[in-house]
Symmetry: C2
Subunit: 449 residues, 2 copies
């Protein structure tokens, strides 16, 4: 029954330190129904813990005897303790989003226990506006990137009166496949990336510098305050923006939603670094995941996403100039990727990411020049209203991870008519991360003016 972890998945365990926990999370807000009784949230908590067994991957833990998790396998936790994994928390008064973000910042800073299934879910009450929140963290060796959030959402209802088992309930094992596509759950299901060594020799060519100067490729980015060593403390900020506003700005400037999103990030980073008096003369470079194939193809196995490096134009004063630089840079990257064959793209991804992993293990990250300045992700989410045990989902923010040398991450997931921004950073390396929320808004407003 035991499934061996791929090298990539063990890597997430191996790279984990006190300063760089390797889990990702999601913070989801829900509406408390108007007719809810006073003990409504106790009922939600019971819904979460009174389950009929535990399904994969939530019941799987790591078994390993060799150093560096070289022999790591997933095995079922036969002493699974639901009260350990599902926790009931509350916010101090007045229960604003501010108090919620402070709590999630603390919870996200704590490592998961490697001797248990690598997830925890917190039901959080006391949020003003008749709402409650759910913060769930899962280890990166268990789910890829935002896949944990997809997995949770795929097990939520699309009607208020529909009742489904909790996402980890054992009934999901047999009953039905996940509703949403493109979910990449690793534990006991995926074999990981294809053989890296075999392909490496074929594409050394990729490491040559491209002639097109707007293509920011690996190993080139200015050294900034974002690219220092991190401590274990985190600060999380989150807010929703109207997709309608962003689409209108995109139409006005002849771009895509993603162009405007990146321009909001570039504008915010410029503002942020200016207040710290540390804006570099060269543009910041973002590592951006790009989908290569459709979700249908991805389900057949293999890696449908690659990472590209894009200039954010942060050195330019005018918002329109920054947007144009981003668009030029992205167009050049896409043109370059279009010339590659599938095998090359897989290896390109591995080569682009391998130095990151090596840097974490050797301790060089945050001490040498960065390959890029930060990871920025924009991933599609549900278009229809979702319900959790009858409660309407109001918003769903991704909580990503930071690494030595990469003290900030911006991830955005769409939900219905919104883009849901999640900004996570090291609170010691980067002061006042919450200011990014104001800076995003100012940068969007500039492009609307």
């Amino acid at each position: 029954m035991a499934k061996k972890l791929s090298i990539m998945d063990s890597g997430w365990l191996m790279m984990e330190t006190r300063e760089t926990p390797m889990h990702v999370g999601g913070l989801v807000l829900f509406d408390i129904p108007e007719d809810a009784p006073p003990d409504y949230l106790e009922g939600v908590y019971r819904y979460m813990v009174e389950v009929d067994g535990i399904c994969r991957p939530f019941n799987q833990k790591i078994q390993s005897r060799l150093p560096l998790y070289m022999d790591a396998t997933w095995v079922e936790d036969r002493n699974f303790d639901i009260d350990y994994h599902v926790r009931h928390s509350a916010l101090p008064r007045p229960g604003r989003v501010r108090e919620l973000l402070a709590l999630v910042s603390r919870l996200h800073a704590q490592r998961l226990d490697p001797s248990r299934p690598l997830w925890e879910s917190y039901l959080i009450e006391g949020l003003e506006g008749n709402r409650f929140a759910l913060y769930t963290k899962m280890h990166h060796s268990m789910v890829d990137g935002v896949a944990g959030m997809y997995l949770m959402q795929s097990r939520m209802a699309t009607r208020a009166d529909e009742r489904l088992p909790a996402p980890w309930d054992g009934r999901w094992d047999a009953n039905k496949p996940p509703r949403q596509k493109g979910i990449n759950v690793k534990a006991g299901a995926m074999e990981g990336l294809s053989n890296v060594r075999k392909a490496t020799g074929q594409v050394v060519d990729l490491l040559r510098q491209p002639r097109d100067s707007t293509v920011k490729t690996i190993y080139r980015a200015p050294k900034t305050q974002l690219n220092r060593r991190v401590t274990g403390a985190r600060r999380f900020a989150a807010q929703s923006w109207s997709l309608g506003r962003i689409k209108a700005a995109a139409k006005r400037h002849g771009g895509t939603v993603n162009d405007i999103f990146l321009a909001m990030c570039g504008g915010a980073l410029r503002r942020y670094l200016l207040t710290l008096d540390s804006l570099p003369d060269e543009p910041l470079v973002a590592q951006v995941p790009v989908a290569l194939r459709s979700a249908d193809q991805a389900e057949e196995g293999g890696n449908a996403i690659t990472m590209v490096q894009v200039s954010l134009g942060t050195h330019l004063y005018a918002p329109q100039d920054r947007l144009a630089e981003i668009q030029d840079s992205m167009a050049a990257v896409k043109k370059r990727l279009g010339l590659m064959q599938k095998a090359e793209i897989d290896v390109y991804t591995v080569l682009t990411n391998a130095p990151l992993s090596l840097g974490q293990i050797t301790g060089l990250s945050g001490r040498v020049s960065p390959m890029f300045n930060l990871v920025i992700s924009n991933v599609p989410g549900p278009k229809e209203t979702l319900y959790f045990n009858g409660a309407e989902m109001l918003a769903s923010y991704p909580v990503s991870l930071v690494l030595h040398g990469y003290a900030l991450n911006i991830t955005v997931v769409s939900y219905k008519d919104s883009l849901e921004f999640g900004v996570i950073g090291c609170r010691d390396t980067l002061p006042h991360i919450q200011r990014f929320l104001d800076y995003f808004e100012e940068s969007l407003a500039e492009l609307e003016a």
Copy 2:
């Protein structure tokens, strides 16, 4: 300015693992004044964070470059971040003691960040009965045993209308000495134990078996479920007992409060192990701290406390027989200690504890036979009512630590007319730790009948 840590104090850092965090804590309950405004607890939080600098030892962090903390020194944290150390939390409804203990169990399981001053304090609201709680944890390398609790209490007021700075406020450095005696704050103040190597040769004699069979000395105790390896998860249980009831039972049976306390522990342990069907035929042995000199002498430096091993009589059916065994065992130990000179006692303490430390480091603890089954402490606390920023202290429970091979700890502190029991254990090694509260009560009732 940097003060080198003693070998003993570095040892607490060196022995720390994910499974065995080396901090101790205190859970204190307060009454919310009747005329308190709705935002009363926000005011308490501001009182805790709006400080005039930070005093020792709260501003001291560890600096170390060599492995195993061999060169560890205390240095001032010049980037001290009060918002990191003082945290505002809340309980989910209905806010019973049950929810409070669940939260404290979780908080106590988390390691302190070794790159910062080694303490955290949580203001906890939402406790029923118009109360709030304060849970504070400090690393054992910073304060000895319950000294952290003493330190906090020494900076609380004795009148409701008296306002003192928060315990970590910088004004304590200059203003006044701690009110209470016997406080042993290590950071930058204590030189630790005297030279162990010099004295060791003189007292090898101590390792011989005593002829008196009721003296349980080192290296002898049955192997029980309490003496297994631990995980990082904790369960904390706490409750107050009337000192009047315990004194009455002591008078009835011709013993001391401590005899009855140990009999409550012995009776509870017998009940607990019986339900697990794992009560050994031999009596459980408790390691019990005993004061050797008065607090006044202790302030001159040196170690005023030694640890002795006492039989808990858990193999005996009748409560009176268990109490008699405890009293005989304690009397024999005291007689034996009375024959020793001071130097011998210091070394006796070190020898009795050294194997414990060695076992933690070598990983033998929980795998070989235990030297004793658990540590049980009964320490005196304040006799007068204390106030924290005007709020009356209702109870104060110690939250101690567990180690590999020592999965349970019972510590009791007195406050006015109560004994405040704190039971901490590994939740994976020992199920249903909260049952001890019922078993203490049943064991006391037996001695009252």
